[in-house]
């Protein structure tokens, strides 16, 4: 029996978890247009049947409108399959052929009614911007795209992805094109760099570098002139999957499907050879071959570390051998301080991953795993299906490129907090050490000497505020995900109270770690969003934030402060939050959501006296 037949039998028998496992294996082993058709039809069926626990990762929704000047239809099944594989349930709205400019301006049309969270402008200059391929054509082409983006942003808060331009297949003037300042190649370069500047000047606008992608695969093999001339489909069949993967580099961070930790093996992964047998002088690691491939992988991991992704080790080794290499080998790029957690022993790797997640206070679905050994990879895949297991190719020369290309390591923005994350975790290790030294919990909290700044959300905090809604899972009462534009709209609305909280303590600045958004309507206020980074949970910060909010809405004349707790697979840590602060249940919905209420004219939740609160009205 084939895996396909077996999967269909699982679905018929109601064994949905096993069916999903089968679909993941089919896609992993033979990703392509054919498998996409198979897995998509089954996944769509399962979306209505399977229970939350059958999915390795809780499903998230993505609504993607594709406004286009070419036939993108063959791409969509591949993107959908890649999304299902990641637990993203994507819905597409496909614009009419080459109607992108009108659709972008139509705030009442079919695209607007679809209410996209993401809009992709998939433009081929040959149909969308024919001027671009004529001398001097960059300016008008750029203006056309810019005005479409601006028009879209007038009626939509969707994130916008715009594809850039490839040079034409042939230059009409041949070599002469380069002999005139307004030549076509020059126009394409000017258009592409203008597009980047356009995106940088706007919130939530990004450029998909189609030109670099095509160049990397080779222009000659990338396109298919026959399909372009017959059905306006520009890509060769073999280019569809690489293009779909390029879309995913945006869809991952836009849907919050990102890895926060990269867990790596050591032997034959971070260096060549086995430390326990070859010794520190025998392992291969250097700037020359054959050690160079391993150093290149270390460089990629160092890049991830600087992007705010934590590194951790899961290795079967004697800890002393491994640590000696990490601290003493002259060609290691990664040292002890780069790793937030170490699991070096002889237990199963799946166990190591769970221990790392627990130590870092993250879910196992935040972990990505690198290991040269296919057996270890399978062991993790089978036992920690939530984690990402990176398929390392057999050839170490390809390790670096493979890891660097993983879409779940992509970020669309980076904040100060991200860049400092590695050292923040080092400070956290010290705090943990203090906790075990001091006696009572309260004594420990007092010893932290915490100071909290409550700040209105201005342009400076916007990026971080939106990012918190995207990434916070555990202490998040409603888990509503917002774009920067959506947070900005609420912050600017006089009927909303929107604050971020920044926490400092004797070990350093934790940065902006929480967000609250409350809408005020007459004598009642409702908490729309209340979340806190797991770094500072259980230190009284959540009580301080709630206490301040209650006092603030009372000061505005409200009698009632209410708020939903909407359960997800992750947010059990804050389930009792409202109850612990004197709120009463007012209502319950079918999905287990609970609406809590507090009479703020009677009593206010106390602000712990070991936290010094500062409130600022302006940008500090």
């Amino acid at each position: 029996m084939t895996v396909r037949e077996q999967t269909d039998l699982h679905i018929e028998a109601g064994e949905y978890g096993a069916a999903i496992h089968g679909l993941r294996e089919i896609w992993r082993t033979e990703p392509g247009s054919a498998a996409a058709g198979f897995v998509n039809t089954r996944y769509r069926k399962l979306a209505g049947l399977a229970a939350a626990g059958d999915w390795p990762r809780a499903l998230v929704q993505a609504r993607v409108a594709v406004l286009r000047s070419y036939t993108v239809e063959p791409l969509l099944p591949l993107v959908e399959a890649l999304c299902w594989q990641e637990g993203i349930q994507v819905q597409f709205h496909l614009g009419e052929f080459n109607a992108w400019a009108q659709e972008a301006r139509d705030g009442d049309g079919a695209v607007a009614r679809f209410q996209p969270g993401i809009v992709l402008l998939a433009l081929d200059p040959r149909t969308a911007l024919p001027d671009l391929y004529t001398p001097g054509g960059a300016t008008s082409s750029l203006a056309a795209v810019e005005s479409a983006v601006d028009a879209l942003q007038r009626w939509s808060q969707a994130r916008i992805i715009v594809t850039n331009a490839c040079p034409p297949e042939r230059l009409a003037e041949g070599l002469l094109d380069s002999r005139r300042p307004d030549g076509v190649r020059e126009q394409v370069a000017a258009f592409n760099s203008g597009l980047n500047r356009m995106a940088l000047a706007r919130q939530g606008v990004y450029v998909l570098d189609a030109q670099a992608l095509a160049a990397r695969h080779g222009y000659a093999a990338w396109g298919d002139a026959r399909k372009w001339h017959s059905v306006r489909q520009p890509l060769a069949a073999t280019s569809l999957l690489p293009m779909a993967r390029e879309w995913m580099r945006f869809l991952h961070p836009m849907t919050g499907r990102t890895a926060k930790v990269c867990v790596t093996d050591l032997d034959n992964t971070l260096w060549g050879g086995v430390i326990g047998e070859d010794g520190i002088d025998g392992i291969r690691l250097s700037s020359d071959p054959p050690g160079a491939h391993f150093q290149a992988l270390q460089q990629v991991l160092l890049d991830l570390y600087r992007r705010g992704i934590l590194l951790a080790i899961a290795s079967k080794n004697n800890p002393d051998d491994a640590l000696e290499a990490i601290t003493r080998h002259p060609d290691m790029l990664l040292r002890r301080e780069h790793f937030a957690a170490l699991q070096i022993h002889w237990h199963e790797k799946s166990q190591s991953l769970r221990a790392i997640a627990a130590e870092l206070n993250l879910g196992v679905d935040s972990l990505a795993f690198i290991d040269d050994n296919p057996v270890e990879r399978q062991q993790v895949r089978d036992n920690v299906p939530e984690a990402w297991v990176i398929e390392l190719p057999a050839d170490p020369a390809q390790y670096a490129a493979t890891v660097a290309a993983q879409p779940f390591f992509e970020r669309l923005s980076i904040t100060e907090e991200d860049r400092e994350r590695g050292s923040l975790y080092a400070a956290e290790r010290e705090r943990t050490a203090l906790r075990s030294e001091t006696g009572s919990v309260e004594e420990f909290l007092r010893s932290l000497e915490q100071q909290a700044d409550l700040l209105p959300v201005t342009a400076r905090q916007l990026e971080r505020a939106a990012q918190l809604t995207q990434k916070t899972n555990q202490f998040n009462l409603t888990t509503r995900r917002y774009s920067e534009a959506e947070v900005a709209a609420r912050a600017a609305d006089g009927n909303w109270i929107v604050r971020v909280i920044r926490v400092r303590d004797r070990y350093g600045d934790n940065g902006i770690v929480g967000l609250a958004m409350v809408s005020v309507d007459g004598d009642a206020a409702e908490v729309d969003t209340f979340l806190l980074s797991c770094r500072v949970i259980s230190r009284g910060v959540e009580s301080a934030l709630l206490g301040w909010l209650a006092a603030e809405v009372a000061g505005r004349g409200c009698r009632t402060l209410r708020g939903w707790f909407l359960p997800t697979r992750k947010n059990a840590p804050c389930k009792e939050f409202y109850a612990q602060h004197g709120f009463q249940v007012a209502r319950q919905d079918d999905a287990g959501g609970m609406l809590w209420e507090l009479d703020v004219s009677a009593a206010l939740p106390a602000i712990p006296d070991w936290i010094v609160m500062h409130t600022a009205m302006g940008d500090d």
């Binding site: 396909r4 392509g32 247009s33 054919a34 498998a35 996409a36 058709g37 198979f38 998509n40 039809t41 036939t71 239809e73 063959p74 099944p77 298919d224 026959r226 399909k227 001339h229 017959s230 059905v231 489909q233 060769a236 069949a237 073999t238 569809l240 999957l241």
Partner: protein, 81 residues
């Protein structure tokens, strides 16, 4: 099993995937006229899936001229010769 039968079988499997139907419901005579899911978008997807899988690239006239799985198998066999 003959080479052409083998090719037809793998194309039936491919078409079952792309069209979201069971392979056992498809024969050499299956085409847009008798398979409901086989519309113009599915036709293009099917051709491109076949191109990807068999490493060939079909002419526009061939793409238009294919009206059944048997004909698709014939065109692909011609390109692979």
């Amino acid at each position: 099993m003959s080479a052409s039968q083998e090719l037809l079988d793998s194309i039936r499997g491919l078409a079952a995937d792309v069209l979201g139907v069971s392979a056992s419901a498809l024969t050499a005579a299956s085409g847009p006229d008798n398979v409901e899911a086989w519309d113009s978008v599915a036709h293009l997807n099917l051709v491109m899936a076949a191109e990807e899988q068999f490493g060939v690239s079909l002419d526009p006239s061939e793409i238009e001229g294919v009206h059944s799985l048997g004909e698709l198998a014939g065109v692909i066999a011609k390109h692979r010769q």
